[in-house]
Structures are given as C-alpha cells and as structure tokens.
C-alpha cells in the first residue's frame, strides 16, 4: 500500500438480504484530501460510509465482503472497533442533537473513551465548538439542551461531536440537507480549514458543493463507481464517462 492513501477500499460488496447495493467497488482516499462522492439517491453512498466505520453491522441482514483498510489496517481485523469508529468522524444527513446539554453532547465521545478530567474536557469542548463555528453562539449557554438548538446549529453541534473524538477522517453524509444556504456556506468554510488536519469524505446531493470543495470527486451510480477523478476533470466538458457529464450537468439523474 502507499503511504499517501488514508483509506483503501477493494472489491467492496454489500447486500441487504438478497439485494446487492454495492457491486464490488474499489477506490482510495488520499491523506488530507476532500473526496466528494456524488450520485443519485439509492446509489449506495450512505451504505458505503457505514462500511468504513463498521456501523453497517447494526443493520440486520447486511452482508459485507471485500476489504476496507484504514491506515493500512483491515477494518475487520482491528483490535478495537470502537477505536476505529473514533478514528472516523461521522456526520449524518439529519442533525441529531443527543438529549443532553450542549456541553455533554460534545463531551460525550471523550467521556466514553474514558476522559474524565474537567479541565481537559472544557478545553476540548471549546476547541470542537470553535472548529464547528458554533462556539460564539452557544458559549454562554453550554448547559442548555442541545435538542433546543435550531436545525443549523444542531448540525454544527453534530459536527462538533464528530470532531470531539479527534478523528483522522471526517465523513459528512449530505450534511446540508436540513440547513439553510448561509449556514451551509459557513460549514463549507469550516471544512476548508479542517482539511489541513484531516481527510474529508463529503457525500453530497449537491453537485455544486462537490465542485466547490472536493479535490477529487467520485460519481457513484447504482452501487458502482462510474468515475473517480480530479474535480476539474469530473466537472469539465470532457469527463471520461458520458454518464458523468450528463449527471453533473443535470441531463439525467
């Protein structure tokens, strides 16, 4: 394997019962890049992310074959799956504020990992909330419920929570689906900052978002990779595949 690849996926197949949703896909994610993943609904984007941190195992009837390597290590052979999940930050499409205070929302993961010292937690909570561009709005009411925040704030809270276990990879699954364009732009700014520290996989329905942010873009369709290339190529007039051109330009899909 090459040092430049943070995540390597080889021949990944996933089926729910008799229905196969990923048909043996292979790709690699490079360190400190933003990889955009685009494709219509039902193309397997979310399932793909769930294979990375093995939360797919919580879905009854899901069967995975092929290998996923994070930092060169097969995720199915890692010593601790919880360690693996802490390495990968996940942001779900709909914001999920846990029914805890804002502070506890962010401190949840570190506490689960055994961090108890108040001072360390305080520092970490502030850092993550700052990174998620939420700190200024909530710094005076950290002890109010996270579920009382607005949708956009909750989504940033979710991002702060995903950052709280100091992941090396951040996966965002259509994070802007429930929030307004202004907040979306703010988070996009945040992502540009974060990429210096971590690798980012950005699953998105918004083709333009991938174009704005992603270094490379992968077009996933019906559980297969149609094309994976630098974003300039994907969004140019001549991507390798006709299908990509048509999808990106809104001709189909």
């Amino acid at each position: 394997m090459s040092e430049a690849n943070h995540i390597e996926v080889e021949g990944l197949r996933l089926s729910y019962g008799h229905q196969e949703v990923l048909h043996g896909i292979s790709f690699a994610v490079r360190r400190h890049e933003i990889l955009g993943v685009i494709g219509p609904a039902q193309s397997g984007k979310t399932s793909l992310l769930r294979c990375l941190n093995r939360t797919i195992e919580f879905t009854p009837g899901a069967h995975v074959s092929g290998t996923v390597r994070v930092d060169g290590e097969d995720v199915r052979k890692v010593a601790s799956v919880y360690e693996l999940r802490r390495k990968i930050g996940m942001v779900a499409p709909l914001p999920v504020g846990l029914p805890l205070t804002i502070y506890d929302n962010v401190a949840f993961a570190p506490r689960c990992a055994g961090l108890r010292a108040r001072a360390a937690l305080d520092g970490l909570v502030e850092k993550c909330l700052r990174q998620a561009a939420l700190w200024d709005e909530v710094k005076d009411r950290l002890d109010t419920l996270g579920t009382r925040l607005s949708g956009g704030q909750q989504q940033r809270l979710t991002i702060a929570r995903a950052l709280s276990h100091q992941p090396e990879v951040l996966c965002l699954d259509e994070f802007s689906i429930a929030i307004d364009p202004v907040t979306t732009m703010r988070i996009e700014e945040v992502l540009k900052e974060l990429r210096r520290e971590m690798t980012i996989i950005l699953v998105t329905n918004l083709v333009q978002q991938a174009r704005r942010l992603a270094d490379r873009t992968m077009f996933l369709w019906n559980g297969e990779i149609v094309e994976l290339d630098r974003s300039e190529v994907i969004f140019s007039e001549q991507p390798a595949s006709r299908q990509t051109y048509e999808y990106v330009n809104g001709i189909f899909g």
């Binding site: 941190n53 939360t55 919580f58 009854p60 009837g61 919880y82 360690e83 693996l84 999940r85 802490r86 930050g89 996940m90 779900a92 709909l94 999920v96 504020g97 846990l98 029914p99 805890l100 949840f108 993961a109 689960c112 990992a113 419920l145 579920t147 979710t158 929570r161 995903a162 709280s164 276990h165």
Partner: protein, 308 residues
C-alpha cells in the same frame, strides 16, 4: 335585479351550494362521530356504576378501623388488615423478582439481540407466556415451587408464581418504552465509538425510564387482584395476625390476601355481616387505584423532564 353587471354572482353562489353528495358526507360524518362518542361514554357507565354500587353497599363498614382491624369472629366481623398486609407482601416480593429480571431481559432483547432464530424463539416464548391463563400458572407454581423446589405453601412460592406470570408483560412494556427512544440517538452514539452499554446507560435508559417505571408499576395493580395463582401456592383463608402489625408474615409463611379473602367471605363463610365483602372490595380497589395514580403521577413528572 340586473345580474348582467355582476356576472360572478351566479358562479359564486353555486360554488357554496350544498350538493346532495356534500349533505350525505356531512350526515355520515356526524353519525360516525356520535356513534363513536356514545361507545366511549358507554365505557364510563360500568366503572361509575360499579364503584358507586360497591361503595354504597360497603358504607356501613368503611373507615380506618376496617383497614386496621383483623377479621374477627370467624371472619364474620372486623376488618381486613391481615389480608391487606398479605397482598402487599405478595406484590412487593413478586415485583422485586419480576421487575429486575423482566427489565434486564427486555434491554437485552431490544438493544443487543440480533434477528436470529434463537432470539425469535425467546420473543415467541414471551408472547405465549403472556397468554397462559392464570390458573395454569397456578398449577405450575404448585408443582414447581411448592413441591419440586420444596418452598411449601408460602409467600415465596406464591410470589414466584406471580413473578413468572407478570414477567412477560413487564418485558413487553419495557420494550415499548425502549423503542420510543429514536434510533438516530443510538446511531449517533455508535458513530462516536460508544459501546452498546455506554449508549444504553447514557442515552437510552435516561430517556425511557418513565415508560419503564410506569409499565412496571402498572403490573402491580394487576398482580394485586390475582386470586388463582396465590390460592394454589401460598394464600390461606385465615391466619391469626395482630391488629395493625406491619410484619406479621415470614417469607416461608402462608398469608392472607385481599382477593382470596373477598372470595372466602362472599361464598364460603355463612352469616357474614352484609357490608363486609363490599368493604373488602373497596379496599382492593383503593390499592389498585392508588397504585395506578402513583404510576400516572410519576409518568407526568418524568415526562416534564423529558429532553427532546
């Protein structure tokens, strides 16, 4: 009237005229509504008439004295203290067995169990156990606890029998409460590397405890009224008890119970003071209703602290 200048009038008027179809729709609507309403009102009638009739017939005997006094003169007079304490004993012991076992089993089934034949078999067992008639439980308790386990006719045997009877319902109500916690909360926890237990302890349980507790407490009221299972395994018609004694029984003793006492003085003992069975029924009702009220109060209080 010159309608030519206001051409819209006709169409406007037309638009709001009731057609036959609309009238029919309204008729059906009100018929349906009042039919359902009358059925709902019908539900109140039995309760109100039952309670008022029982209280009316019980009136001459009612009072604090009736609760504190033990049965006198071969259960023809006196109060219900020994039976009341016996019922409390049975319920408390039964619940302290079935609540922990039932709740923990429900947590396993709901949070850990994968969908495979083994767990399906457990689910099937729970459902079927809930459907077993109480008299069959009684017979089982007699064979298993009284004879096989050699606990004899005792509070222990009776409570174990009651516990087995209530466990499936505790499991079912607990699972319902756990299910009410959105799945997205669990996924959010798993995504940040929390174990199942951390997820359960920090998120699932704190947010379902109201449902879990009320389910368990409501089981008490069901248990308090059971007759057959305890009659077979540990409740007796009469046992001498001191007036107002809070700890008259040992775990291995037989005891009196309200439900069985009611049966006894209504059908087995001649020349009982007429209001006595009704007063006993009132006490049983009070036990059940106060337990239900506690449960509702607790639920309201816990709901008010709910966080999403």
């Amino acid at each position: 009237m010159n309608t030519e200048n206001i051409p819209d009038a006709a169409t406007t008027a037309n638009r709001f005229t009731e057609t036959e179809l609309v009238r029919k729709k309204y008729r059906a609507e009100s018929v349906a509504k009042y039919l359902f309403l009358s059925m709902a009102i019908l539900m109140i009638i039995p309760l109100v008439s039952l309670v008022s009739y029982v209280v009316y017939r019980a009136w001459p005997s009612l009072g604090l004295e009736f609760i504190l006094e033990v049965p006198l003169r071969g259960m023809r007079e006196g109060g219900v203290w020994s039976a009341l304490v016996g019922t409390v004993y049975l319920v408390v012991v039964a619940l302290s067995i079935s609540a922990p076992v039932g709740v923990l089993a429900a947590i396993y089934l709901n949070e850990y169990a994968k969908d495979n034949w083994f767990h399906r078999a457990i689910n099937l067992a729970v459902i079927n156990l809930a459907g077993v008639p109480s008299i069959v439980h009684a017979l089982f308790g007699l064979g298993a606890f009284v004879y096989a386990a050699k606990f004899g006719y005792s509070i222990l045997s009776a409570s174990l029998t009651l516990a087995i009877m209530t466990m499936p319902v505790v499991i079912t109500s607990t699972r319902e409460a756990l299910n009410a916690v959105p799945q997205s909360f669990r996924e959010a926890c798993w995504n940040v590397g929390a174990t199942r237990w951390q997820t359960i302890r920090r998120i699932v349980l704190p947010n379902s405890i109201s449902g879990v507790l009320t389910g368990v407490i409501l089981e008490v009221s069901r248990t308090a009224g059971e007759t057959a299972p305890i009659m077979f395994t540990g409740a007796v018609f009469y046992k001498a008890v001191e007036r107002g004694d809070f700890l008259p029984y040992h775990l291995t003793d037989q005891c009196m119970a309200l439900s069985l006492h009611l049966f006894a003085i209504s059908t087995q003992v001649p020349d009982v003071k007429e209001s006595l069975p009704f007063a006993t029924a009132v006490v049983l009702l009070l036990v059940v209703l106060s337990v239900n009220a506690t449960s509702i109060g607790l639920r309201t209080w816990l709901r008010s602290r709910k966080k999403w």
